[in-house]
Amino acid sequence: MSSPETAPLHDPAAEEERQLVRTWRSPTGFPGWFLPVNQREIGKRFIVTAFGFFIAAGILALLMRVQLAHPRLEFLSPDLYNQFFTMHGVTMMFLFAIPVMEGMAIYLAPLMIGTRDMALPRLNAFGYYVFLLGGLLLYAGFAVGLAPDVGWFAYPPLAGAEYSPTLRADFYATLIAFIEVAALVAAVELVVTIFKQRAPGMSLNRMPLFVWAILVTAFMIVFAMPAVMVASMMLALDRTVGTHFFAASGAGGPVLWQHLFWFFGHPEVYIIFIPALGMVSSIVGTFARRPLFGYTALVLSLIATGFLGFGLWVHHMFTVGLPQLAMSFFTGASLLIAIPSGVQIFCWIATLWMGKPVIRTPLLFVLGFFFIFTLGGLTGVMVASVPFDQQAHDTFFLVAHFHYVLIGGSVFPLMGGLYFWWPKFTGRMMSEKMGVASFALLFIGFNVTFFPMHELGLIGMPRRVYTYVEGMGWDNLNFIATVGAAVLTLGFAVTLINAIWSWFRGREAGPNPWNGDSLEWATASPPPVYNFRHPPVVRGRWPMWENPQPEDRVTGLRPDRREVLITTVLDARPQGIAVLPGPSIWPFLLALAVCVAFGGFMIHPAFFLVGFFAAFAIVVAWHWPGEEERLPPWKERTRE
C-alpha cells in the first residue's frame, strides 16, 4: 500500500488523496487531544472509555461475588457493599451499555451508509466530553467515599434528603441528568446523519439492518431519556432546595419517581438491546454466506419493539399496589413483546438454516446469544405475570433474569461485534484460537454464575443484601455463582489479551476479511481519515455482494474542505452538499461549562446559573462566523 505522503507528485489521484488527508486529519499531541471532531475518532473514544468503565464495574461485581461466596463473610462492609452494587448498576447502564452502543453506532453507521463524517461533528465531540467528564466525576466521588448507595434506580424516600443526608445521592441525581445529555446529543446526530447522508441509491428499504437498529434506538433515546432527566432534576431539587416532588407526604410521592424513572428505564433496556440485534443481523448474514431471510420482517420487528418498549414500564412496579386494570394492561404488553423478538430469532435461524454457516468467533457469540437470550426471554414472560412477579420481586430470580437479558441479549452480540469489526477498527485480525477460548469461558462462566441465581431467588434470597446466615440452603449455590464469576472474568481477560496481542501482532486484515455485505467493508482497514476517497453509490440491499463496479461512486466533492453529500430522506437521491467544520476546542469548553452547571448544583444552586451563562457565552463563540463565512456566499462550488 503506497502511503499518500510518498507517492509521486504528478499523480492526480495521489495528489487528491494527499489533499483529503490534509483536510480531514485530526490534530495530535496534548492540546490536540481536545480538538478532533471526526466521527471515527469520537466513536473510538466512546468505545474505549466505555470498556474502561466496563472493567471498573466488572471488578466491583467480582468483589461483591467474593463477599457472597460464604455466609457471614466480612470482606466488604455493608456500607461499601451498598456503594458497590449501586456503582455497578449505574456504571453498567449509564457509563457502559449506552455509550458503547453509541460508540459502535458513531463509528460504524456512517461507514455503512457511505459518508465521510456525521452531520454536526462538533456536537458529536461535545457528547463525548460530557460522557467522559460525568463518568470521571462519578468515580471521583467514589474515590472520596461519596458514591451513591441507593441502588441504580434510587427510589425516594431512601434517596431523599431525610434518609440520604450526605452528598452521595446528589452525585447520582445531578450526574445522571448530566450524562444523559451525551446520549441525547448522539441520538439526534445519528438520526440526522442516517436520514440525510446515505449513499446515493441507498433508499430506506436498502439500509443495512444495523443502521435500522441504530435509527430505532436513536428515536427511543429521544423519547425516553428526557423523562429520567426531568425526574433526576426533580430529585436534585428535592434534595438541595427543599421542593416536595417525591416527598411521601406530598401529592407526587415516591410512586411518581417510579413512574418517571421506569418510563425511561424500560425503554432503556431496549436502547441497549436493539443495537445488539443490529450486530446480530450483520454477523448472521455474513457468516451464513447468504442474504438475511425476512429483511422486511426483521425491520418491522425492530420498529415494533421500539414502540412496544414504551408500553411496559409498569411491569417494574407490580408490587406498588396500582389499579388492577393497569397491571393487566401492562402484563398483556409485556407478553406481546415476545412476538417481535421471536420473529427475529426465527429469521436468523432460517438464514443460518438455508445458508452455509462458517463458524468463527463472531458467529459463536451469536449462537451463545440465541441460547442465553432465549432463556432470559422465557423468565421475562414469567415475571410479566403479576402473581409470579409478586413472588419473585426483589429476589435473586430478578438478578438472574436481567443478567440473562442484558449480558445475553447485549454483551454477547457486542463481543461478537467486537471480533467482527476489530479488523475494520485496527486493520488486524484477532486470534481465532483465543476467540474460541474466550467464548467458551464466557459462555460457561456466565451460565455457572447466573443460572444458580434463579434457584436462589425462588428459595427466597433477596437481592442487595451484603451477607446471609448459614442454614438457609443458599450456601452452595452462592459459592457456585462466585466460581462462575471467576471463569467469566477469565473469559473477558482472554479477549482483552487477544485485543492487545492482535493490535501489534495480528494478521493484516485487508478491506473485507469476512466477505461482509455492507459498505464499511468497501474501504481500507482501518479506513483513511476521509473514510472514502469516492463515496460509493448503491444498487441493492447487499452492495458488497452485488458485484460493485468501479463507476458506482460519487465524484466532484472538493478535497480541500470537509464536504459531504446530502441526499433525500426516503430514496437517497443526491440533493446538496454540506461543508462540515474542522477541529475545535469549543465542544470541550462547552462540556466543561455544562459540567459546572450540573456538578456544582449539588453544592449550591447558584452554580447552575454560572454554568448557564458560561455555556451561553461559549455557544456564541462557537457559532460566531469565521473568516471564510464572511466572504460572499458560494454561488458556484467548483473553481473551473
Binding site: 452531520a119 454536526l120 441525547l184 439526534v188 438520526v191 440526522v192 446523519t193 436520514f195 440525510k196 446515493p200 441509491g201 429521544v222 423519547f223 428526557p226 423523562a227 432527566m229 426531568v230 425526574a231 426533580m234 431539587l237 428535592d238 432546595v241 427543599g242 421542593t243 416536595h244 416532588f245 416527598a247 406530598g250 401529592a251 407526587g252 410521592g253 411518581l256 418517571l260 469516492h534 453509490v537 463496479q549 458506482d552 461512486r553 465524484t555 466532484g556 466533492l557 453529500l565 446530502i566 433525500t568 443526491p574 440533493q575 446538496g576 452538499i577 454540506a578 461543508v579 451561553f616 456564541v620 457559532h623 462566523p625 464572511r630 456566499p633 458560494w634 454561488k635 462550488r637 467548483t638
Partner: protein, 200 residues
C-alpha cells in the same frame, strides 16, 4: 445513473430550508424539549389526581389577569420575529433588525410581568408539592424565554453589522423555529397552571 459515476460538482451548498441537516437537527431538539415539557405536564396532572383539593388548602387559585396579559404578549411576539425572518428572505435587513428588536422587547415584557406576578405570590417551591411543580414549570419555561432573549440579541447584533442576507440566514431560520416553539409550548402550560385548577 448507469455506467457513469454520480457527479455532484454542480450541487449547491445548503444553508437553509428543510433539506439541510441542521433543519432535521433542530427538529430533534424540539422533540426532546417536547418530551421534557410533556414529562412536567404529566407530573403535574399525576400530582393533581392524588389530591382532593388543588391547590392545597390555604393557597388561593392562581389569578388570571396578569398571566393572560403576558401570555398575549408572548403569543404576539411571534409576529415581529416572523416578519424579521421573512424579511431577510427578501434581503430586507431592516425588517430583520427591527423585527428581532421588537421580539426581544416583548419577551422581556413577558419576563418582567411574570417576575411581578411571582413576587406577589404567597407560596414558594418549598411550601408544598403544588408550589414545587408550579414553580418548576414556570421557572423552566422562563429560562427558555431568557435564552431566547440572549440568543436573539446575538442574532440582532450580527444583523446590525450586516452579516445576514437572503443566502446566509441559517442562524435566523433556526432561531425563528426555536422562538415559535417556546411560544407555542407556553399555551398548554398556561391552561394547565391557570385554568386547570378551576376546571378539573
Amino acid at each position: 445513473m448507469n455506467g457513469e459515476p454520480v457527479d455532484v460538482r454542480r450541487l449547491s451548498v445548503y444553508h437553509f430550508g428543510n433539506q439541510g441537516p441542521l433543519y432535521w437537527g433542530i427538529l430533534g431538539v424540539l422533540a426532546i424539549e417536547s418530551v421534557v415539557f410533556g414529562s412536567l405536564i404529566a407530573s403535574y396532572l399525576y400530582m393533581r389526581m392524588g389530591e382532593v383539593q388543588w391547590p392545597p388548602p390555604g393557597t388561593a387559585e392562581p389569578k388570571l389577569l396578569l398571566p393572560t396579559i403576558y401570555t398575549a404578549i408572548l403569543l404576539a411576539s411571534s409576529i415581529p420575529v416572523y416578519w424579521g425572518d421573512s424579511g431577510i428572505e427578501r434581503n430586507d435587513a431592516r425588517a430583520l433588525r427591527w423585527g428581532m428588536l421588537i421580539g426581544i422587547a416583548m419577551a422581556l415584557g413577558f419576563l418582567a410581568l411574570k417576575a411581578i406576578e411571582y413576587s406577589d405570590i404567597d407560596y414558594f417551591w418549598n411550601s408544598h408539592a403544588y408550589g414545587s411543580i408550579v414553580w418548576a414549570i414556570s421557572g423552566f419555561h422562563a429560562l427558555h424565554v431568557l435564552s431566547l432573549v440572549l440568543k436573539t440579541i446575538v442574532i440582532d447584533i450580527l444583523a446590525w453589522r450586516g452579516y445576514f442576507n437572503a443566502e446566509r440566514r441559517l442562524g435566523v431560520t433556526i432561531n425563528g423555529i426555536y422562538w415559535h416553539f417556546v411560544v407555542v409550548v407556553w399555551i398548554p402550560l398556561y391552561f394547565l397552571i391557570y385554568w386547570s385548577p378551576r376546571m378539573l
